[in-house]
């Protein structure tokens, strides 16, 4: 017999399928149409009110889908200590909704007594690495579970950095026991913004640590005759990122894959199309793997 928790729910792992970021604009469609989507991801900070409809919608949707909590407010890379109250709120949501995955960013948003609410870039030094690892430890200890860390999209680099981003990223996970959430769009955006070699970046990533993949759209700006790519989650995934994703899952293997769409939010069917496109690529690779096993 399967274990049923006291919430009446089975602890549900996030499947190796395509999922979508859950937006309030789509609550009704999801509840009424029960689309064939593997899972949904939420930002826990949007569910940290004392009560109200968002938590009720999430309860309802959680009955039918596995979910993942993708936090944006922990500020793991900050020189300031973590906020115990925020950690406690995060823990309450983890206990209540039993997510299959919990993740945060290789970033910071807390520099003074106020919050940027946008993900700020880290200087890649041994000092920052120790801060990251200590904070990841504290979160994992508090939540009593592993978390995944997402690579950032970045627009600038610090002179004082002592190692490439991918080395810092993987090292933070290895030292803390965290997993990796590889945002393929962010890899593309950062590599093209800084002239880094994408293959070099990806070759650092141990597939055994990858627990989730993110895909999203970005915008392109011309600045003084040069191209800067801005990660705004406001458009369909571009063709270069689709190719990179296909290359990544073919070479490294599959992981639950999320379509993020957080600004200029489309009608639900358009989001579904993106999810289906990711699902097709996952199915294609899965089929090849099965064939290889059979003929191998």
């Amino acid at each position: 017999m399967e274990t049923i928790h006291k919430s009446g729910r089975k602890p549900t792992p996030v499947p190796i399928r395509a999922g979508a970021g859950l937006k309030p604009q789509h609550y009704q469609s999801v509840i009424e149409d029960q689309p064939d989507i593997g899972w949904f991801e939420i930002h826990p900070e949007n569910y940290m009110g004392r009560g109200g409809p968002p938590l009720r919608y999430l309860e309802k949707i959680r009955q039918d889908y596995p979910i993942s909590l993708h936090s944006v407010g922990t500020s793991l890379g900050s020189h300031l200590p973590l906020d115990r109250q925020h950690l406690q709120q995060l823990k309450s949501l983890v206990d209540r909704f039993e997510p299959g995955l919990v993740s945060e960013h290789l970033s910071w948003s807390h520099g003074y007594e106020w919050y940027t609410h946008d993900l700020m870039p880290l200087v890649y030094t041994e000092e920052s690495l120790q801060v990251m690892v200590e904070h990841i430890d504290q979160v994992q200890e508090h939540l009593q579970r592993q978390i995944l860390i997402e690579n950032p999209s970045s627009y600038l680099q610090f002179k004082a950095s002592e190692m490439p981003e991918q080395v810092f990223y993987v090292e933070a996970a290895k030292r803390s026991g965290a997993g990796l959430l590889v945002d393929v769009n962010n890899v593309f955006v950062s590599c093209t913004n800084h002239g880094w070699n994408i293959d070099d970046y990806l070759s650092e990533i141990p597939i055994s640590l990858v627990g989730e993949i993110h895909l999203s759209g970005h915008s392109v700006q011309q600045v003084e005759g040069r191209t800067l790519r801005i990660d705004d989650h406001g458009s369909p995934v571009c063709s270069e990122v689709w190719s990179l994703y296909q290359q990544f899952i073919s070479q490294f293997g599959l992981a639950p894959t999320l379509i993020e769409w957080d600004s200029n939010i489309p009608e639900f069917p358009q989001l579904l199309e993106e999810v289906s496109a990711a699902q097709c690529l996952i199915d294609g690779v899965a089929e090849t793997e099965v064939r290889n096993v059979v003929t191998g």
Binding site: G49, R50, G51, H86, Q89, G111, W114, H117, Q157, N193
Partner: protein, 254 residues
């Protein structure tokens, strides 16, 4: 100070200001002739992301001043009052006061009260849930015991009084396509904002009802609150008020 702390503080200083970033910060960035523009991406994202949160919170204020003016106001607000909370759910708690202090907006004297109403709406939306008061909890009470009760109001409930017809302004500006004129001569209004269950309600109420609920919120008994309310507003009918609201979720279980 550690390098990480120093860098994060100068980064934050530069995010908040409209001035060119400090030379010391730019000095810390790898320079490919685009260092400043690269930094501007972060500053722009900081302003836009938090400004968008204000636009979501105050759609009617945005409609009343226009999108461009709202963007200017939001940018100034984000710089002056950056988010103090880990979530953006209730970002903008000082926006009404901020608007009120801007001389250029004095031609829209109702604007800050409209902002207060929009903030109250969202605060009610995210407020704690509570079970409604049930008839069986008041059974077999003598009239005297009933008058001595201290009722608990729903945690989402807020009172709002304005010298201007802000309820009409707010409700007619829920969509872009209204062109009805509202006369400020319509005068003051008193509102109760509450979310008994899933839907936020904005109720226009008379002076007596407003005062009655205000007293209850300050822990007065039913009898005490009624005495004050009926003195201020002889039209106030306690029976009529209770028949509508005693068990509709305005009050919560004892």
């Amino acid at each position: 100070m550690s390098l990480l702390a120093e860098l994060q503080r100068s980064f934050c200083d530069a995010l908040r200001t409209a001035e060119a970033p400090d030379g010391a910060l730019l000095e810390m960035l790898q320079d490919d002739d685009l260092a400043l523009q690269r930094f501007q991406v972060y500053r722009n994202n900081f302003i836009v992301l938090n400004g968008d949160a204000l636009a979501d919170m105050f759609p009617v204020v945005k409609r009343l001043v226009g999108a461009e003016a709202f963007r200017v106001l939001a940018t100034a607000y984000v710089r002056q009052h950056p988010p103090r909370d880990r979530t953006l759910l209730l970002y903008g708690d000082l926006f009404a006061d901020f608007l009120q202090a801007i001389p250029e907006l004095s031609e829209l004297p109702y604007l800050s009260d409209v902002a207060r109403l929009e903030f109250a709406w969202t605060a009610a939306y995210h407020a704690a849930d509570a079970l409604p008061l049930q008839p069986d909890q008041l059974q077999n009470l003598s009239e005297e015991a009933f008058a001595g009760l201290q009722l608990r109001l729903h945690p989402s409930l807020q009172l709002l009084a304005s010298d201007f017809p802000i309820h009409r302004i707010w409700s007619l500006n829920q969509s872009d396509d209204q062109d009805e004129l509202i006369s400020l001569d319509e005068g003051a209004c008193r509102l109760i904002v509450v979310r008994p269950d899933n839907e936020v309600q904005v109720r226009v109420v008379a002076e007596g009802e407003f005062e009655f609920v205000k007293r209850l919120l300050a822990s007065a008994t039913i009898g005490e609150a009624f005495e004050v309310a009926s003195q201020m507003d002889p039209q106030f009918e306690l029976g009529q008020f209770f028949s509508r609201h005693l068990f509709d979720g305005t009050f919560c279980a004892m």
